[in-house]
């Protein structure tokens, strides 16, 4: 599978993609989680570059953040402080959680070469005033992007970018569905790497490669016999060692509610006269992510439905250590999955983890209990 290998290589070395884009004369904007309007960056002819931390030890970042802030922010800041992201023309930082609210100032203090684009959107995102506020903020961001790009961005260009992103979202979901029945060909780590590559490359090219992999998988017989079907939920689940443990225990991810993976892909931007309004409307539709206002905890309802629809044997709640929204969600979500008699295991992860003994034992015991 050449396309899959290409995607894996990109994920293994995202900085090479960054260097290559900059060398080709393209400007690159860093995109932090969650739900930044990166379509506007793409529309301006620049490369949106995902910043979801990295597996590394954070040292310098501890001069800014205390140890009890999540590793996504620590390691992203660490890369910035070490100058590893100096090729970026700017970085988009939202205010979706309390820890992120501090990121902008910490970044500005420590990373002098890369300016910040603050991203605000409405938590009360479903009411008309919330949608309008989000639209107004995205338009404000559009102006900042135009300044960096040195040109204006038309609504037609934004519409084209939206189409490319929507196609990419559909491609991710189709790939995820195909991978669910082909664990022998696509390991859990491969699945994650294939989706993750999209954060570092041109989205249209990502779509093309993903569709190629999906088509190949669809022509192969299913290889999931004897595998336990699991659904994952959380912020991020890209640690190769964690994913290896899933493979080792003959588990296959049949669907995910991971912010870094399918949550973003599950919702497309509607067609509309005002494309930026459409982006705000899409944000109003998203469910299944703890950092978004979720009265009624539709996340739990959606998770139960996903598990049932996929015929899952169990759920892995992959909790990013020190993530408040996830830690709050865990209790009611657990109650909801228990009520639906769907086994769920919580695994706490951190990008600075070096010892996976604890998750390994827990997943092994969980797998045994499911068989």
């Amino acid at each position: 599978m050449n396309a899959l290998n290409r995607l894996k290589n990109i994920t293994m070395n995202p900085k090479a993609e960054l260097k290559e884009a900059v060398a080709s004369g393209k400007k690159v904007i860093g995109i932090m989680p969650y739900f930044c309007p990166e379509e506007l960056v793409y529309a301006a002819g620049m490369l949106p570059f995902g910043l979801w931390g990295a597996e590394m030890q954070a040292n310098e970042s501890k001069q800014y953040y205390p140890a009890f802030i999540c590793s996504i922010l620590h390691t992203t800041l660490e890369m910035g402080l070490k100058g590893e992201l100096d090729d970026l023309s700017a970085v988009m930082i939202p205010i979706s959680c309390d820890s992120l609210k501090g990121m902008g100032a910490n970044w500005e203090a420590g990373v002098k070469n890369v300016p910040v684009i603050n991203v605000a959107f409405a938590e009360n995102r479903k009411i008309a005033a919330g949608i309008e506020f989000t639209r107004s903020q995205f338009r404000k961001i559009q102006k900042q992007i135009e300044e960096i790009a040195g040109r204006t961005v038309s609504d037609d260009e934004i519409r084209k970018a939206i189409t490319i992103y929507n196609e990419n979202r559909c491609a991710i979901l189709a790939f995820s569905k195909a991978a669910a029945t082909h664990p022998a060909e696509v390991t859990a780590a491969d699945r994650c790497a294939a989706i993750k590559a999209g954060y570092f490359m041109d989205r249209a090219a990502h779509t093309e490669l993903l569709n190629e992999v999906t088509a190949e998988l669809e022509n192969l017989p299913a290889s999931d016999e004897g595998y336990l079907k699991i659904v994952t939920t959380g912020i991020i689940a890209d640690a190769p060692r964690l994913l290896d443990i899933i493979d080792k225990n003959k588990m296959v991810i049949v669907d995910d509610q991971i912010a870094h993976e399918s949550v973003n892909a599950r919702y497309v931007i509607p067609e509309a006269e005002d494309p930026v309004l459409a982006m705000a409307e899409r944000l109003a539709e998203i469910e299944g992510c703890s950092v978004l206002y979720d009265p009624g905890k539709k996340r739990g309802t959606q998770l139960v439905e996903m598990a049932k629809n996929a015929g899952a044997d169990g759920i892995l709640f992959i909790l990013t250590k020190f993530c408040d929204p996830e830690e709050y969600d865990y209790v009611p979500v657990k109650r909801m999955t228990d009520s639906a008699s769907i086994p769920m295991l919580q695994i706490e992860i951190d990008q600075q983890m070096t010892d996976y003994g604890q998750p390994e034992s827990a997943i092994m015991a969980f797998a045994e209990s499911l068989r």
Binding site: Y64, I69, N124, I127, G130
Partner: protein, 407 residues
């Protein structure tokens, strides 16, 4: 103002007023009125004007922490599945919501929830869980963190729409109607309270300060929740008058000589309030600057300005403005040093604390220390660490004083 109020010191009046507000909520509940649980920086003008009783789980969290129940309640919440990394106020509240009893303090159970995230986003997740658990309505006024120094028109429109929507929903939930004349009057009274509060805390600039700065932690509950009432306005005016009189005589309620003046950054460690206070007081250190001074000065001239005022609460501002508030307060109140509380509960406050401390030190030239603690979970605080760092601060402040004398 009644005779009995005139005879009592303002701090007693304020304590009684706080008890009265709590008692009124219990009485309302007994009468069958709808009672709400409310986030501390939710626009109190709405509920005060509509005569809707609300109580504040954050205040309960502080009180339970101060009275020694923090660890027990937090551990109970952890047993429910809540991480020990979460805000201790919320853990205490989850425990209370489940246990339905708490020996240190109880508040009437709610019929609805009023949430506002200008203080932090964790309020949203906390209240989402309560709403689900209790199956009651949750009303959110989202005040997005400011990324510029001023609250822009887009934010004001968005907050105003939610403000109006909240009133409509509360009318449906409680059956009480908003009277716009009453709202206007509450806004005026709230201004009067805020001005009096500012005048009172302004006397911290006097040398010596006429009061122990830790008193602010005790008085702020009423400043926060009751400032829309005439009683609160009068009590704060009395407090300001008392401080004015003391300042004029060069006297203070601070026990002992005020050798050093400090800024204290962050929420108090309620579970260790006495210890943290004594470690300072015995060394002649008085707290003469805290963000809680200017924090509760909600000054506005009209409804749109009211919306903006709620976006300017501490920690909702952009970092540069937050820093400026601290630096200005410290310089105005002539502090000799600063103590920064790295509060384990509060990721929002702690996320920029190191940078705040560095920049504060650079801009003021004053010595600073940071200590680890928590607002209500006693397990995150070390007496030895606090003691050692305070001692180090004293040594530097003392050296600085000697240099000043020589100069």
């Amino acid at each position: 103002m009644s005779d009995s109020i005139e005879k009592k010191p303002a701090k007693i009046v304020l304590r009684e007023l706080q008890n009265k507000i709590a008692e009124e909520a219990w009485e309302a509940k007994k009468r069958g009125e709808k009672v709400g649980w409310c986030a501390s920086n939710f626009p109190q003008e709405i509920t005060t004007a509509m005569g809707i009783p609300v109580v504040y789980p954050e205040n309960m969290g502080a009180a339970v922490g101060a009275k020694g129940g923090g660890q027990r309640m937090c551990e109970y919440a952890e047993g429910m599945g809540y991480s020990g990394d979460l805000c201790s106020y919320s853990r205490i509240n989850f425990a209370y919501a489940d246990l339905k009893k708490c020996e240190e303090m109880e508040i009437p159970f709610p019929d609805f929830l009023l949430c506002c995230n200008n203080i932090c986003n964790c309020m949203i997740k906390w209240y989402e869980n309560l709403a689900l658990e209790m199956n009651i309505p949750l009303l959110l006024i989202d005040i997005p963190h400011l990324d510029e120094r001023t609250c822009d028109e887009d934010r004001i429109r968005y907050i105003r729409a939610q403000f109006d929507d909240c009133i409509r929903q509360l009318e449906e939930i409680t059956g009480k109607k908003m009277d716009l004349e009453k709202l206007k009057s509450v806004m005026e009274v709230s201004q009067r309270s805020s001005r009096a509060w500012l005048r009172a805390v302004g006397y911290m600039a006097s040398t010596p300060s006429p009061f122990s700065g830790f008193d602010i932690f005790n008085n702020m509950a009423v400043a926060n929740v009751g400032r829309g009432t005439i009683e609160a306005a009068e009590a704060f005016e009395q407090l300001a008058d008392e401080y004015e009189a003391l300042a004029a005589k060069g006297e203070s309620t601070f026990k002992g000589e005020e050798k050093y003046r400090i800024l204290f950054e962050g929420i108090a460690c309620w579970a260790h309030l006495k210890y943290t206070y004594k470690a300072l007081q015995t060394r002649g250190i008085n707290l003469t600057a805290t963000i809680y001074g200017p924090a509760f000065s909600f000054l506005y001239g009209n409804l749109d300005e009211l919306m903006a005022a709620y976006a300017y609460v501490p920690n909702s501002n952009c970092f540069e403005r937050e820093l400026e508030l601290r630096v200005n307060d410290a310089l105005k109140n002539k502090v000799d040093g600063a103590i920064f509380h790295m509060n384990r509960s509060c990721k929002h406050w702690s996320g920029n604390l190191y940078e705040m401390e560095r920049r504060f030190r650079e801009q003021t030239g004053l010595p600073t220390i940071v200590f680890d603690g928590d607002q209500s979970d006693p397990r995150c605080f070390s007496e030895a660490q606090y003691e050692t760092r305070v001692e180090a601060l004293v040594e530097i402040m003392e050296e600085n004083k000697k240099k000043e004398v020589k100069a």
